[in-house]
């Protein structure tokens, strides 16, 4: 903890405030000023220039009637849920590595887990896009070769999805019904290097005696996970969950590069961030985009507040 300090000493040490100045200036100019400007401009019709027209709450009224925006919340909701499930492989990986006997292998695997980070994320994005290509893509080649395609076609006949057909390459990013599934399988097997390492750090705090006791009780590996390991990484999991939800709600880069500013066919890939971005930088309705941003902020703030209030995990 920082040392308590008397008034007199604080006065004497005033220079230490200077340490904070650069940081404060930076966040003031590049975070707080834009934030206030967002609030201010959300009451204007503003197309980015000097001219603006005060229109009161009209922007917010338009948001209420903005079907695209509301639909984009459904999409992002699905993606948030999917991303939660996508945390499982990282946890699984961490537990697998943690349970290995050989310390040397534990270390080697850590290094190997980090290895994919050397590929810039944009490169990964483009390679995945290439995987999804209907005619040349790896994914369709794979599904054809393994016969999974035939299975999907049968399922389609059974459930009348109308997306998979025999002898027709699957247009992953072109069929409205497949856009969200594509975004969900994106990045398989969803292992985040930093996540794995952090879960491992959490797992390391488990004492030997705990395992020994478990061993004596004849606990199987699944029980071991739920009773010993999971509770210990609960804090990490919860916080990465919160950050993941916030991160997902804000994301739009992937959708923009993959599907374009319009969110792809049927606008199925439209997410709130992308809608805001296109409203500003394609339609030129900067004021409305600010209102959308403000709305998004309030939404995220409420979620975080509720989380802190009701889902608090005791340390």
């Amino acid at each position: 903890m920082p040392a308590a300090i008397s008034k007199r000493k604080a006065l004497y040490e005033w220079k230490i405030y200077l340490f904070l100045v650069p940081s404060l200036l930076l966040i003031g100019i590049f975070s707080y000023a834009p934030a206030f400007s967002t609030v201010y401009h959300s009451f204007f019709r503003w197309s980015g220039g000097d001219a603006k027209e005060f229109i009161g709450l009209a922007n917010f009224k338009n948001i209420l009637a903005d079907k695209v925006f509301w639909n984009s919340f459904v999409t992002i909701g699905i993606l948030v849920l999917a991303n939660m499930v996508k945390m499982v492989p990282s946890i699984f990986m961490a537990v697998c590595i943690h349970r290995l006997k050989s310390e040397r292998w534990q270390y080697n695997y850590r290094v190997l887990v980090v290895l994919p980070m050397i590929v810039p994320s944009l490169v990964v994005l483009f390679i995945w896009k290439f995987f999804f290509d209907p005619t040349q893509g790896v994914l369709n080649h794979f599904l054809d070769a393994t016969g999974i395609k035939g299975f999907l076609v049968d399922l389609d006949k059974l459930f009348h999805w109308g997306v998979f057909f025999a002898d027709v390459p699957i247009a992953w990013l072109g069929t409205p019904g497949l856009i969200i599934p594509s975004l969900i399988i994106w990045g398989f097997p969803w292992i985040g290097a930093v996540g794995v390492l952090i879960y491992l750090a959490g797992l390391q705090s488990i004492g030997t005696e705990v395992y020994e006791a478990a061993q004596l009780d004849g606990v199987n590996s699944l029980q071991k996970f739920w009773c010993i390991e999971f509770p210990l990484i609960m804090t990490q999991v919860r916080i990465s969950l919160v950050l993941l939800v916030i991160g997902t709600l804000q994301s739009y880069g992937l959708q923009y590069l993959l599907l374009g500013g319009n969110g792809g066919p049927g606008q199925k890939g439209m997410v709130p961030g992308l809608w805001m971005f296109s409203k500003a930088f394609a339609a030129g309705e900067f004021g409305y985009a600010c209102a959308l941003g403000l709305f998004l902020f309030v939404f995220i703030l409420t979620l975080t507040y509720l989380n802190n209030r009701y889902v608090r995990v005791d340390k």
Binding site: L100, W105, P120, L122, V194, A201
Partner: protein, 303 residues
């Protein structure tokens, strides 16, 4: 890394975690006598899929379009490797790489210096008002950056920073503040108080205390933060896309998007460019991988 969780955010996860005790790995290993091979198999399978993009990138970069469509999976015969791809990619991508190095290095160094100062302020004394100021920083964690993009653009315009590399550097420095200060503060607070007091006795100023006490003690966390910041700057493409106009100052992200926009794709060239775009990261990781892994997993990131 293909996980959609921003890598930096997961790191914070551990920040507030319960204190990790020093590892008792050796002792644990002896307690688990079950055979390990199914685990090895699982891990290797997952890793193999995870590294597939890397493999595809390498082998396709040596093929021309024709070879690629004939045989997409297996590497081409080394005698027929198309080195032209690499020459083309080098000419195309190296200028972007250079710009990215300037931005990422400057932004990372700047961010760590500024954050270290601020973290020192918060962790050294409970100065009057520091609670409120801390709140100011924490609130930023909730502020969705996406909501800010539009007015941020106006701010940059007002500062005449549009279409300059300065804009990206400054944004990189400002954007990493909260995350770095948060982690650094926790770390500095754990440094034994006696060390500071001893230094103070010797008449060390705050700067000297920072240099002689804090920096040597926080090597691993600084290393980890540096790599995370470097990565996030290196991988950024949305901000440069909005801020920059002239191709001669594009960073790598925008360069790759432009490459993707060509009308007839030469996959070999594209993959060679992708590979070249990764080389700086490969070098950094090659030399600092151990530091990074150690920093993250041995409790450098903790609460």
């Amino acid at each position: 890394m293909s996980n959609s969780t921003p890598s930096s955010s997961t790191a914070t996860a551990a920040a507030t975690s319960t204190t990790a005790s020093t590892a008792t790995v050796a002792a644990m290993a002896s307690t688990r006598r079950k055979r390990d091979w199914p685990k090895h198999l699982c891990i290797l399978a997952l890793l193999a899929i995870e590294l597939l993009p890397f493999y595809m990138m390498m082998q396709i970069s040596m093929k021309d379009n024709h070879m690629f469509f004939d045989n997409p999976w297996v590497p081409a015969n080394p005698l027929r490797w198309v080195w032209e791809n690499w020459i083309y990619a080098g000419r195309l991508i190296l200028p972007y790489v250079a710009n990215s190095i300037v931005v990422s290095v400057s932004a990372t160094v700047g961010c760590l210096v500024v954050a270290l100062l601020a973290a020192y302020f918060f962790s050294r004394y409970k100065m009057p008002g520091s609670g409120f100021l801390w709140g100011l920083f924490l609130l930023l964690m909730l502020l969705p950056s996406v909501a800010n993009i539009v007015p941020l653009f106006a701010v940059l315009k007002g500062l005449h920073l549009l279409n300059t590399l300065w804009a990206l550097i400054v944004l990189g420095v400002a954007g990493g503040q909260v995350f770095c200060i948060y982690l650094l503060r926790n770390f500095i607070e754990d440094i034994p108080r006696d060390l500071f007091e001893a230094a103070e006795m010797d008449g060390a100023s705050h700067f000297q205390q920072l240099r002689n006490v804090v920096i040597p003690m926080s090597g691993p966390i600084l290393g980890t933060l540096a790599i995370l910041q470097f990565l996030s700057n290196w991988n950024d493409y949305l901000m440069p896309l909005i801020v920059l106009r002239d191709p001669e100052i594009f960073p790598i992200g925008v360069g790759l998007i432009y490459l993707d926009g060509e009308y007839v794709k030469q996959w070999g060239r594209i993959m060679a460019s992708f590979f070249l775009a990764s080389i700086p990261l490969i070098i950094i990781f090659l030399f600092t991988m151990k530091l990074f892994v150690k920093g993250l997993s041995a409790g450098a990131v903790k609460g």
